[in-house]
Amino acid sequence: MKWLWFAVKNVRRNRRRSATTVLIAVVGTASLLVGGGFVEYIYALLRRIAATDSGHVILAHRDHFAMAEDVPMQHGLDDAPSAKARLEADPRVSAALPRLQFSGLISNGDKSAVFIGTGIDAAGEFRVRGSFLWKVTAGSALAARLPEDDLPEIMLGNDLARQLRAAPGSTLTLLATTTEGNLNAQDVRVKGIYTVGVPDLDRRAVLVHIATAQKLLLTDRVSTISVYLRRIEDSDAMRAAMGGLFPGRALQTWRDQAFYYRAVRALYNRIFGLLGAIIVVLVLFAVSNTIGMAVVERTREIGTFRALGAFPAQIMRNFVMEGLVVGVSGAAIGTVAAGLISFALGRSGVMMPPPPGYSVGYPLLISRSLELYLGAALVIVGASALAAWAVSHRAAARPIVEALAHV
């Protein structure tokens, strides 16, 4: 007989009570894992959105992020093709994509609207972003190259297209201030209509080839170069390497630009942290109650063991082991249950409603990471052991004669 076997036997003394406690530990573990898995999935999704939107590392003019421009592209980057080539020579880099941010008016002849445009390397952007961030709802994506025998192509955000009553094939005019401070106009043809899932952006968004934007603004500069890496974990190292490669330029990682991700993470950490704490407290109370009742029922037995020469620490160890038996059983079953629930939810195709500010929902998926599973199991097992220790240490130190006289 070992003490562990003794603990198992003791846990089985009152099977219904122990089963209820194990069930609470199971529900606690599964809740932590499913809730935590959902949060991890949301974080991973938002990380991916943020990094895919901005690029993992963003290279810009020294004053680009900090100071306002007097004229368009005052803080733009010169020599973008050379920088792109140097960056893409790094094996960690999957693409270095120049972007040109600009704004102005877009008109169908009868009606004008403000737009926020982005000049892009169409082939590269659609390769790295694909349909993940830009969902084409009508027409098609920009071609890899500018059309030689037709007007330059543009893509319009859903709501902007609706405002201008534009459809694929429509001709519109872009008006913007050039780098010299003059107004310039460019006729363009609508190639496609898309949504980014955020109504505020869909009301203003315009995508054009970067050459079209440069021609409109009379510049050969770009606003930024977004560097996409094969592994998001390399972001900080790449930023450091780029610091040496491009001295005097401004650099940010996707995390610096991911305001929404940071805000959601801070909010969810608090909400789910609180829920997790409540679950742990519930498990603590359940195990405390079970072990506490066992301690009272077995007070005379504790006295007997002490009379036979047991140290108080040995008595506490026995009860802690009983707490561990309950906690480990609950955590093990809860882990399996969480795995099954996560699998079932993943297969169910359930969609979550759109988050605030978004127009599209996202699938309900639950991440299953080893760290999360180990962490949650350890928390439940630790809480069970702690609860058992807390309720048994006084009983273990009780005078032996008192304990033996307990009825």
Binding site: M1, F6, T304, A307, L308, G309, A310, I400
Partner: protein, 246 residues
């Protein structure tokens, strides 16, 4: 008010067959031991300056009416309670100088306990119950099993090792408790009303068993009892009344 009893005095009174006591070396020595309990605002004296010595291998009965202090004296002798005053030497060591941990070690290595209600662990088998003191002492598995089996055999329960207490009769349970008390090869066994919950025939068997084991293993027994038959089998009877030796 102090009272004193020695094995010599007992022999003079001829209260029991004293062959063992005649050759006894002192194992236990109490001098002026006093103990009182506080109940609310009232302090109740349980022992009033009791002096007693018990020799090695003696079989001593503590008798007296309820409230006379025999259980208190037994608890002090068993190191599970401490006197308020007086001196208690066990095997030549002043127990008042021992730390709680040292007291636990002495209980584990030198003492055995037999309780009126048997105090067996209901989820353990007879063999496992007997193993408990060895398990507490950290004895290796093989040694534990061998010694527990030998103790079970010594009390005549061979074949019943795998039975749990609720599958045993009262007499068999007390035999398991005796085996548990003796498995650690103690020098002193303290028994609190060991026959109180047994019928007459079974009680007689248990008494005989304890006497036999005490004799063959050179173990000192101190038995608190109301049972006249039990007292009649002891080398010496120490009678208590109102916390003093009668």
């Amino acid at each position: 008010m102090a009272s004193h009893a020695t094995s010599g005095a007992a022999r003079e009174r001829g209260e029991a067959g004293s062959a063992a006591a005649a050759v006894a070396a002192p194992i236990l020595l109490l001098e002026g031991v006093a103990k009182s309990y506080r109940t609310g605002q009232v302090t109740v004296p349980a022992l009033r300056g009791v002096s007693l010595d018990v020799g090695l291998g003696e079989f001593v009965a503590l008798t007296g009416p309820s409230g006379s202090g025999k259980s208190t004296l037994l608890h002090i002798c068993g190191l599970i309670d401490a006197p308020d005053a007086g001196r208690y030497e066990l095997l030549g060591r002043d127990t008042g100088r021992l730390s709680p941990r040292e007291l636990a070690v002495v209980r584990r290595e030198k003492l055995g306990f037999i309780f009126q209600g048997f105090n067996l662990v209901p989820v353990l088998t007879a063999l496992e119950n007997v193993e408990v003191p060895l398990l507490l002492a950290g004895a290796p598995r093989a040694e534990r099993a061998a010694r527990a089996r030998a103790a079970i055999e010594a009390v005549g329960l061979r074949g019943l090792e795998r039975r749990r207490p609720d599958e045993l009769s009262g007499g068999q349970r007390q035999r398991v408790a005796i085996a548990r008390a003796l498995v650690g090869q103690p020098k002193l066994v303290l028994a609190d009303e060991p026959t109180a919950n047994l019928d007459g025939a079974t009680a007689a068997q248990v008494i005989d068993l304890m006497r036999e084991l005490g004799r063959t293993r050179d173990v000192t027994f101190i038995v608190a009892t109301h049972d006249g038959r039990m007292a009649a089998h002891c080398d010496r009877v120490v009678a208590l009344k109102d916390g003093t030796l009668a």
